[in-house]
């Protein structure tokens, strides 16, 4: 077995290329800058386009323009950049523009600490754009995930025509690790669906049996309209309340009703366990160490590592927590995702442990939390 050595950001870039990404625009920001560098190395020689926008708003705007031209697109930033993306994210949500957005999180709030990790954007990614409609958020644990979840992210963005976030972290994006590239999961590549033939094209018309409008690229033979305004199936502004309400509901349901199909997770359920640890991102790595140690010590705990954070994989959480007395959510923030778990498991004791000082949560800390339950 031959091993390669790479950081998470590079693995995301390579995953993007494998997924068919043809356009990247970004703006330098630690700890996402190396993702931009990697795309700059990979994309232009492969015939793709890699731009440095004048700011974050421009970078994501350029991506949206290229996406409407038919390209698979990605941008990457950190928390401060996500703030600036916000209005464009809501454009992509409401106007169904496929885009993958990588948030290599750093310690916030605000400009915070550029070179320290955190998972403080986990609710922000879900709720940080106007209108409150759902988005998809995936969270990689390691370099292998950075590669394969990026491909999934593209597939989901294309399939559901919505922004898909990869919630990375300085501690994943800029940490290098050995990886067996030949063993990586490479999901089948999915592109956006064209409208059914033999019908006049209406850019937001949803064909029978579908939940998402068929896509035609701007610049093709058929004229395409795109608008950030509240629109009807023809892409023109509408004031028809039924049409508006129906469309908004569809934008919600196209993601929520399909959520089970992209609930990525790893669960290790021990039948004698009293406690279930729920973790995601880099913290899951420490939780896995604790799981292994306690299993060896014959004091097993169960472990649920969530790789889809939004929509919350509620059935997965309920099922994993079914037999335990106590759930412990461990995350690099002040309990942002614990609130979702508490919402899903109102009858269960849900404890939280977190930290927000730039340090990783260690296995030792998690063991203490489990032991002092």
């Amino acid at each position: 077995m031959a091993l390669s050595f790479m950081e998470g950001n590079e693995a995301v870039a390579r995953g993007a290329i494998a997924a068919g990404c043809r356009f990247f625009a970004g703006y330098p920001i630690t700890p996402a800058s190396t993702l931009f560098s990697a795309m700059l190395e990979l994309l232009p020689p492969a015939g793709g386009i890699c731009l440095q926008g004048e700011d974050e708003i421009a970078s994501i705007g350029q991506c949206l323009g290229a996406a409407m031209g038919g390209m698979k697109v990605m941008t990457a930033t950190s928390g401060p950049g996500i703030s600036l993306y916000s209005e464009q994210i809501s454009f992509a949500v409401g106007s169904e523009i496929p885009i993958v957005i990588v948030d290599v999180q750093r310690l916030g709030p605000s400009t915070g600490s550029a070179t320290r990790g955190a998972d403080g954007d986990i609710q922000f990614l879900r709720w940080g754009s106007s209108g409150g409609l759902p988005v998809i958020v995936l969270a990689p644990v390691n370099v292998a995930d950075c590669f394969s979840l990026t491909i999934h992210a593209f597939n989901l963005a294309e399939q559901y025509r919505c922004p898909v976030f990869l919630a990375s972290n300085k501690e994943i994006g800029m940490t290098r690790e050995s990886v067996d590239l030949s063993a990586l999961e490479t999901p089948e590549i999915i592109g956006r669906a064209a409208p059914p033939p033999d019908e006049p094209f209406r850019p937001f018309h949803v064909a029978e049996g579908r939940t998402v409008p068929g896509f035609l690229p701007m610049g093709g033979d058929v004229i395409v309209r795109q608008t950030s305004s509240t629109h009807g199936p023809d892409g023109y502004i509408t004031t028809n309340k039924e049409e508006i309400a129906g469309n908004i509901k569809r934008l919600e349901q196209k993601v929520l009703s399909a959520a089970d199909q992209f609930a990525f997770y790893e669960s290790r359920i021990e039948k004698d366990a009293d406690s279930l640890i729920i973790a995601y991102g880099v913290t899951a790595r420490a939780a896995e160490v604790v799981y292994d140690e306690l299993k060896r010590a014959a004091k097993p705990v169960s472990l649920l590592v969530l790789k889809t954070l939004w929509p919350v994989p509620e059935a997965v959480v309920r099922s994993a927590a079914e037999k335990v007395k106590r759930v412990v959510v461990v995350e690099m923030n002040l309990g942002l995702y614990a609130r979702e778990i508490r919402r899903i498991l109102p009858d269960r004791r849900v404890d939280f442990f977190g930290r927000m000082d730039g340090d990783l949560i260690s296995p030792r800390k998690i063991r203490e939390v489990i032991a002092h339950g």
Binding site: A2, F23, I49, G61, A66, A67, G69, G219, Y236, S362
Partner: protein, 430 residues
Amino acid sequence: MDSLLNKSRPPAYCPGCAYDRVTVGLDQAFQHLKLSGNQVAMVSDIGCSGLFDTFFHTHALHGLHGRALTYATGLKMARPELKVVVTMGDGGLGIGGAHFLSACRRNLDLTLLILNNFNFGMTGGQFSSTTPSGARVGSGFLNQLEKPIDPCTVALSAGAPYVRRCSSYGRDLAEEIAAAIAYEGFSVVDIWGACTGRYTRKNRLTPATIEENLAGLPPMPGKVNENARKEFGRHYRELAAALKPAAPPEAIEAQFEPPAPARREVVILGGAGQRVVTAGEILCLAGLTAGLNATQKNEYNITVLRGPSISELILSPESIGFTGIEEPDVILALGPEGVARRGYLFDRLNKESCVIQAAGVDIPGSRATVHPIDFKARKIKAQDWALAGLAVLAGLNQVITMDMLHAALAHRFKGPLLAQVLELVDSVNI
């Protein structure tokens, strides 16, 4: 050619609005250029200029206020064959000022029509980036405090290769617009007109006064010779085509036995400029040559050339979960900044642990075996201490062997640089 006006959506501006004129002029320009609807993309944003895309039967992308140029840039790069025409008001121009400057600097083949009517019409006639300080507008006295910008002189100084200024009421409006669209590069046309719904209620602005005002300004040349240069998209494709494809990631075969088949944790504590991160990578590559898994977690201040530089490295025959190091097996103490930040680690060392201590770097007491080494006396420069420290480690047969180190260097460096680093590590010879 046929008109590209949208038959199902006739223009619906306020009576007397200058935008009506521009709509007609733009349609005539499309006809002059013999463009069909699917060859054109209209990109607009918010405000009355944002109604434009609706009135044409072309591709249309209508987005957020001030951001039209951002979408246009992505779309044009994705579809170079499209004629992309951007309409922005003077409001969007102010909001998207950075995009305007960048579009001028970039010189991508877009045409920007600034529909300049000196106020935010749709929202109540508030002042915009071009409202005269003496105008009476919906922002009370605030416009008296600010100087309006001249988009044309801004465009000139920002590098736009095509800049024109004209009146919505001019007879040659269609020709003006057609010439700008035909130009291969970023073309800006600042088109002055009256907003009858808001601005001209309290301010005198007529076709005649616009003509007068324009006549009093230095004319804009259209093609700007000093800014003439390659079009961005063409230039991009030219430069990108000359690039070599990126190399696939290297895969390293296991060929050595490590000193011990166990997990080893190494922390390099140094300072900026000591190439700590590179040395960390080399240690991990050395691990890979013995079939070990490896992780490298770095810490440094954002001021890259000052402050501590720390690399936490784990080599293990098992898969590695947690990437932090709480109780290292080995510390390379190479710089006071790094030692200061992780001083607490020394207390956690045991008698099996080892510390490689560069002369001149004070370290806290510990139970570990300390191997002092005077790099300066060996004439090794500070930037090579971290790599030399790996040679000491290999010389002690700790964590890595000299064979592993050599193989790692051969993976990381080529040519004369490889010869230099091999010479360096061999010279350490403890």
